[in-house]
């Protein structure tokens, strides 16, 4: 810790990331939906998204240089964070449960026949991706960096296939006239699967952020471990989504 005694630590990554997030999410969303101004909205997104990426890139870059991620407590940290994720899913699920238990009949009028094949396929995809990231970690442990990169790429590909399945399913259902506003089931269906899908995207982004420097040989094991823990969590949540939304 000798270097800490002589100068004030600083980093511009957090501030740039926050500014990017605020431009890319609240301001973009409000300009589009509240003020119905697509041009201003695009402008905010156009400035915000690059700032986010720059901030993230810098952050990852700094993190890779610190072999122990500063003090080395990232693994318990991500576990604590997942506790809060559990509760946000519970909050959204409780909305679904309340609607469903108060309903006279289920599914409500306007619900088309839901395919049970696609969710099973998606489950297989997500479970295998949890397996591949585990194999990737093992390869890294054995010092096989090429094998690690390969399995990481497979994981990213599986995540993106999963996400595409969701998009396919959405477009199919919307085509049949089943959109978010159709009835109480569509309300829960799109909110919960959409919220889960956003977590899939975040997980995939973490893996991309690990992969890019890994191509140049820069790998931080703690970072990989954190991404992997998060991904297992996303996988477990999916079991709840499938059982509650599709098979109940």
């Amino acid at each position: 810790m000798a270097e800490h005694e002589h100068h004030w630590e600083s980093s511009w990554a957090p501030l740039v990331l926050v500014v990017g997030i605020v431009l890319a999410i609240p301001l973009t969303f409000a300009s589009y939906f509240q003020y119905e101004n697509a041009l201003v909205s695009a402008l905010f997104a156009g400035v915000g998204v690059p700032l986010m990426l720059i901030g993230l890139a810098k952050w990852v870059d700094e993190g890779l240089d610190q072999t122990h991620l500063h003090f080395g407590y990232a693994v318990p940290g991500i576990s604590v964070f997942i506790v809060s994720e559990v509760f946000i899913f519970l909050g959204i699920f409780s909305g679904y449960w309340m609607m469903r238990l108060e309903a006279d009949s289920w599914p409500p009028a306007g619900t088309p026949h839901m395919s049970m094949v696609l969710p099973v396929i998606m489950t297989v995809i997500l479970v295998s991706s949890s397996f591949t990231i585990h194999v990737a970690e093992e390869k890294l442990e054995d010092g096989d960096e090429a094998g690690f990169r390969k399995m990481l790429m497979v994981t990213i590909a599986l995540a993106l296939i999963f996400f595409s399945c969701t998009m396919y399913e959405y477009s199919h259902l919307v085509h049949e006239g089943f959109g978010p506003s159709t009835n109480s089931y569509s309300t829960a269906f799109y909110s919960i699967t959409g919220f889960h899908a956003s977590h899939v995207l975040v997980g995939a982004s973490i893996f991309v952020a690990i992969l890019i420097p890994a191509l140049g040989g820069r790998i931080n094991k703690t970072f990989v471990q954190c991404g992997s823990i998060y991904w297992h969590f996303v996988d477990i949540v999916w079991f709840f989504v499938v059982s509650q939304i599709y098979f109940w």
């Binding site: 990331l17 969303f29 939906f33 003020y35 604590v80 409780s94 609607m99």
Partner: protein
Amino acid sequence: MKDWIFTTDHKRIGVLYLVGSFAAFAVAGTMALLIRIEQFSPGPNITEDPNMYNSWLYFHGAAMILAFLIPGLTGWAANYFLPLMIGAPDVAFPRINAFSVWLFWLAIVIALLSFVIPDPPDIMWTGYPPYSVQTEGNTAFYVFTVHLLGFSSILGAVNFLTTVIYMRAPGMGWNQLNLFVWGTVAAFAIQLIFIPVLAAAVTLLLFDKYLGTHFFDPAAGGDVLLYQNLFWFYSHPAVYVILLPAITILGEVIATMSKNPIFNYKACVYAGIWGVVLISGEVWVHHLYVSGMPNWIRIGMMISTLMISVPVGIIAMSLWGTLYKGSITYNTAMTYAAGCMFLFLIGGLTGIPLAMTVIDVNVSDTAFVHAHFHFVMGIFAAFCVIMGVYYWFPKMTGRIANEKWGKIGFWLNFIGVNLTFFPLFVAGLHGMPRRYYDYAQFAYDPTIEKMHHMATVGAFVVLAGMAITLLNWIGSAIAGEKASANPWNSKSLEWTHTEIIPGPGNFKEPVTVSADWTPYNYGK
């Protein structure tokens, strides 16, 4: 300048929180004054536009809770002093810490934008549907303000829980922690579990208003009460997010100024602080007594709400016990501490009737409720923040805040808040509803108007008190009397083991403590 905005040091981040939260306080306080002027007498007084009045209410409530009290206590105080108290060189994740403070600052910016944008949010700090879904107002900004502040707090929880678990000085056991460290850990445990539920609630609001879903639309199988339940499931425990750090700072000041160890330390921590955390999640329905629900829920929640006064009472008893036979130094911080004890007593005692369904249904949504929660979580907690600033002023500035002006400010604040809020109890019992823009329909009862007169005068006394307090801090930071490293002769690590203003890394040598060390070793 660059050193400050890009800083990842917990002390500088703490100062950024302090500046931001008092900026929010100044604006939200101005809103309070405008509200008091408007309610001085029935009929329009200062604005002809009730919507304008609504947006003051919105900003005052949202900013005082989310942008002043919570960031003041879990942002400033926890950031600056918790790592010092446990002998750590920084928090576990310094960059995430910087990320949190800027989320907080930009959330304030978004909230402030509501004064310049068209169709500002007009849904109070609670955002109840169906109005929040149907209004033309910008509900999105309300939702995103909550998201940003919530995300900031959750990351704060990740940071501080990890820090306390893993970064305590070698040798420091759980029973050797400062009371404030426990209060902060408990507050962040609550934030970690309950904020996500609020985030879920407002996210569903966003979906309903902008994407056409039906969570809160009974016509399509939704339920408006769902929102109220989710909202209060967080927002009652939020009271303890404010209360626990506030009351444990009070404990620190009382122990130091009376040179006594915390009375009944273990009971205070494990039964008191953690008892509050345990029960905090089972009381939220007392905000919904007048909404439709079966009686068994009402009665169950009445019992759990009354039960929470037991752990709170244990904490209060520890504070009074710590004063017993102490050699008390009555400086400004201790004067505030005494004021806090009084405010807490009034706020706590008036909560008991409100917990009882039979009384609450009669005073629900009246000025009585308004006065109760202002005593207990508004001014009590604000006094604790101010007390903390006086207590730790030397640690941040190397100087001692002027005592004479400190005490003048205290008495104006103390007289002012009591003059404001005691009359509101009376007005509430006379039937004055909360929040009204124009209470002409209650003008038949002259007491109500009289009480509003007194409350408005009281608010201006507080204005004088706060102006003196803030000017005193600025003046003393520039030209106050230089402080020694441990001006109050405290035994706590942040005073005994660091320089008066700690540098990068906090401690010259890594700190270790022995098995018989406690932060309250006053030889008793």
